[in-house]
């Protein structure tokens, strides 16, 4: 048995695949938020903020939160405390990131590019 054997299928066990997907998206969203905060508070270059990606980010965050919620419901049924802890962490962090994005959008709304069409 070689160490490569578990990696033949590039996937995770079906119990954690939703949690892993939500955590991967969570990392992306956290990265985007950190970049936004840096450009808003640090470098003051608001043209580099993620205003052009608002719709994509909204869809992506909703998908991530939904997957974390689904994973939580499934693991609550499975009664495995480690998996449940993992899934609940993902759910809470996703919710927190969503709130942060929501608040930040309100604070930065004056800096959005204006378009009259």
């Amino acid at each position: 048995m070689s160490w490569k054997d578990p990696f033949v299928t590039v996937t995770f066990p079906s119990k954690v695949v939703l949690t892993i997907a939500s955590i991967l998206l969570l990392i992306i969203h956290t990265g985007v938020i950190i970049g936004d905060l840096y450009h808003f508070l640090g470098s003051q270059r608001v043209d580099l903020m993620s205003f052009h990606f608002t719709i994509t980010l909204l869809f992506s965050q909703v998908a991530s939160f939904y997957w974390a919620l689904l994973a939580t419901i499934y693991t609550l049924q499975a009664e495995d405390s480690v998996l449940m802890c993992f899934a609940l962490t993902s759910l809470a962090l996703n919710f927190a990131v969503f709130i942060v994005r929501f608040v930040m959008e309100f604070f930065t709304i004056a800096y959005r590019e204006e378009r009259y069409e």
Binding site: D5, V8, T9, V10, F53, I55, T56, L57, E113, R115
Partner: protein
């Protein structure tokens, strides 16, 4: 002659119980092939493969059109990146050939992915089963599957409303392959048990029930 043969036998869109009956007339061990007497082998690719390939190519074509089109204030490139990534992942995780062997001489089943042993277990851990899904009017639709511990679910016939016919087919498949057959209800008199798990010793049983009571 069907377009879906060999390792693609389960990709058929029209997976009704009549189609399955026709296939069983051609090969009474369908979807398995007889390698030696009492040894059944099945090689297959998962059908998620073509879905992943479809998602990947659609996202790729759409992204090409998107980058040529005029831009608005919002940038939608993220959706195409997600589509391409998920498509690639679906292809990569399902591209390897699976081989399922039911060996009645050694009384075990073996599941290989890309020639590497993935799971080996006794025959009472693999079964043929009816699965029922209820629609919004309360009508039941039945699917026939082969599944087992750490196996991937194989759907032989999906969402048929004719219980008697699909039940007969399921029993016939289970009899030819000499596997356990389970009804769609968990507790039922229509189960056919051919391989029993070993009896639990009395002490262990006490431990188990004691554990459940706690």
């Amino acid at each position: 002659m069907s377009l879906f043969r060999g390792p693609f036998a389960l990709w058929d869109f029209n997976s009704s119980e009549r189609k399955l009956a026709q296939k069983l007339q051609g090969n009474k061990f369908f979807p398995f092939q007889v390698q030696q007497p009492k040894v059944f082998v099945m090689e297959y690719y998962k059908d998620v493969l073509w879905k992943g390939a479809l998602l990947f190519s659609l996202s790729l074509v759409a992204s090409v059109f998107y980058f040529k089109a005029e831009k608005g204030s919002q940038n939608f490139a993220g959706f195409f990146i997600y589509g391409i990534t998920i498509g690639l992942w679906l292809i990569a995780s399902n591209m390897n050939k699976r081989r399922l062997i039911i060996n009645h001489n050694k009384e075990l089943y073996q599941f290989y992915i890309k020639g590497r042993l993935w799971q080996e277990g006794p025959l009472y851990q693999i079964y043929v089963r009816l699965v029922a899904q209820r629609d919004s009017y309360g009508k039941l639709f039945y699917s026939l599957i082969i599944n087992g511990y750490r196996l991937e679910m194989l759907t032989l016939a999906s969402l048929s409303s004719k219980f008697e016919q699909i039940d007969v087919l399921g029993r016939r498949i289970a009899r030819h392959l000499n596997l356990n057959y389970f009804d769609y209800e968990d507790i039922s008199t229509r189960h056919v048990i051919r391989h029993k798990p070993p009896e639990i010793e009395e002490e262990e049983e006490e431990e188990l029930t004691g554990y459940q009571n706690v």
